[in-house]
Amino acid sequence: MTPSLRLLSPTTVGDVIDEAQTILETWGVWIEHEQARAMLLEKGAKLKENRVLIPRTLVDAALESAPSEFSLWDVTGAQEYVVGGDQFRFVPGSAALEIWDDQKGKSRRAITRDLVDLARLVEKLEYLSFQSTSLISSDVPEELADRYRLYLALQFCRKPVVTGTFQEDAFPCMQMLLEIVRGGVRELKDKPLAIFDCCPSAPLNWSRLTTDALIRSSAAGIPAELISMPLAGATGPVTLLGSITQHCAESLAGVVIHQTAKSGAPIVYGGSPSIMDMRHGTTPMGAVETQMIDMANAQIGKVLGLPTHAYMGLSDAPWPDYQAGAESTMGAALAALSGINVISGPGMLKFESRQSLAKLVLDNDSVGTVHRLLRGIETREQPMALDLMEPLLSKGHLLNSGHTRKWFREEFYFPGPSVERRTDPGEESDARGAHARASDRVKKLLAEPRHPILEPRMQAEFRKIMEREFSRHGASLPPIKES
């Protein structure tokens, strides 16, 4: 039996979906993108004072055509990852403005080398299934930061990538990079390599940028991921259920736009909602209420028959301390128990604005623990203990028995540097703690030899594309530096 946890009753889920549809019928959404607006009006939506009212029939049709699962393939095209059902996959939290310098103990803006290091590290962290374009490089023009992240990610990590645009003109370039890796337009459609995040703007707005990304990804066969984020108490109702309902309405509007553009294209029901901290005016992603909203949203997504996503397993602490471990580990466990398919969070700190390599290592460990938890308690042998009583009672232990040797590796998880289990780890290790142990691990992993991921031909094409982008902005593409 796979352990699972649900916070809403089936009746409440039904009520939320019903009310969200009523919101779409009566208040509708504001859509900045003319083409998308026209497309919906043609399908029966109505325009009322600039807002597009979406009838239930359109929502139902969109839900009918959207697939309940899809697959991603890694850069080599060899490994397939199904996104759907109760399969959960962890991804580093995306688009941090700064990096926590684990050696110096302070934060700074990220540069090319950090993006490369992060991608190389994620390549090696076994419990992170996907990579993401997690950092923004401050040594390239801001206008090119979105595509530059993908350019580096694909060269240094084989895993499928969760990404997104900051500017409309980035999409074609990013699509081209993906197609080069696959070897063509058709090939990318057959074996998607990336997920594109598209964020509606709470309350109930779809900006041109995100609508454009939604439509373009549907056409390119790139799975889209809805990142609706009402802030409970600010851009959404303060009641958790109220915010969950608004999230549902915003997301359903996204599904309708996406499926109307291309019926059957893969789309994920996700989000990065948060409560508003009423004392400090911040958006705590690690707050227990935020996590409850995320869990409920995913439960609704599942009932709607869509793959799900959430920003969980992250923390608002400024650096990888006690708060960071507690919020991230609890979030990771709750997300997996909720059967959320894509879980963005590892490495992330400070309200989604900071990444740390040591924290990625620590979170990888937590996720390992969560994998163990989710395997549940399995029936290995029948009878379960009876036949072991004879050797156990005669020797007094089973330490080196065949039974123990057969099963201990499967029954127990062996945590990495985040967990200290030695009785006497030595004074130095006692004092340094998990963060220092994780920093050592980062150094060790990055010192390992690296083999190029892309063929030289692809790399040359990558450079050509980026050089063109950079020269259009009067800048030159920086050389790639690794640690």
Binding site: L97, A145, N205, L231, G233, M278, R279, G281
Partner: protein
């Protein structure tokens, strides 16, 4: 009655604040007296209570809304020369950016510190910022940016302000998640603050310079 007005303001009751202000005027209280002895000290007290963790943001913002309601009644009666309010401040989120919560909090905190705040909303062009500063005779422009891409447009507001020969008369204060003190220095903005609370202190510092 004076105490009732202070309580109405502190509890964010905008209708009572408006009505009690009107009643006090009818009873012969002077507009300047109501402003300086009741409204402004009370809103500052609200700010202090928030700082101490007694009041929360929703309550503080509602107290600012109540202050506005009271001001609407006395504003027309204030002599033009007695500009008792601390300063006039233009607030907005920069062009291309729709993140407006941080900006709204900054506006609310500035209001609760007793300033007159003109909130231009989000996605505001550099021309609109400077145009509004001229129209409202403001001493300060506060610009929020939450994206590394839109933050660049903050510099255009500085340029626009300088082109309008307002340097030294209208200060510029920048903020938002990707914005730093170094960035403010680089683009020639006079002020920077990391959060709404420190935005109020920084605004006070700048207002003292530009007067």
């Amino acid at each position: 009655m004076r105490e009732q007005l202070a309580n109405a303001l502190l509890s964010g009751d905008d209708i009572a604040t408006r009505d009690l202000t009107a009643t006090l005027l009818e009873q012969g209280e002077s507009p300047v007296g109501i402003l300086e002895d009741i409204l402004l000290p009370t809103i500052r007290k609200a700010g202090d209570l928030w700082e101490e963790g007694e009041l929360f943001i929703p309550e503080l913002l509602q107290a600012s809304a109540a202050l506005k309601a009271g001001l609407e009644v006395i504003k027309p009666l204030l002599p033009a020369s007695s500009e008792s309010m601390r300063g006039t401040i233009i607030v907005g989120t920069i062009q291309g950016d729709i993140h407006d919560i941080g900006k709204t909090l900054v506006a609310g905190m500035l209001e609760s510190a007793g300033h007159r705040v003109v909130d231009l909303g989000a996605d505001v062009s550099p021309q609109s910022f400077v145009g509004a500063a001229q129209r409202e005779a403001a001493q300060l422009i506060c610009i929020s940016a939450l994206l590394t891409t839109t933050m660049l447009n903050q510099e255009s507001v500085v340029t626009e302000r300088n082109n309008a020969a307002l340097q030294g008369r209208v200060g510029i204060l920048v903020g938002g998640a990707p914005v730093t003190r170094e960035w403010a220095d680089r683009i020639g903005a006079e002020g920077y603050a990391p959060d709404a609370f420190r935005a109020v202190q920084e605004a006070a510092r700048l207002l003292a310079i530009v007067q």
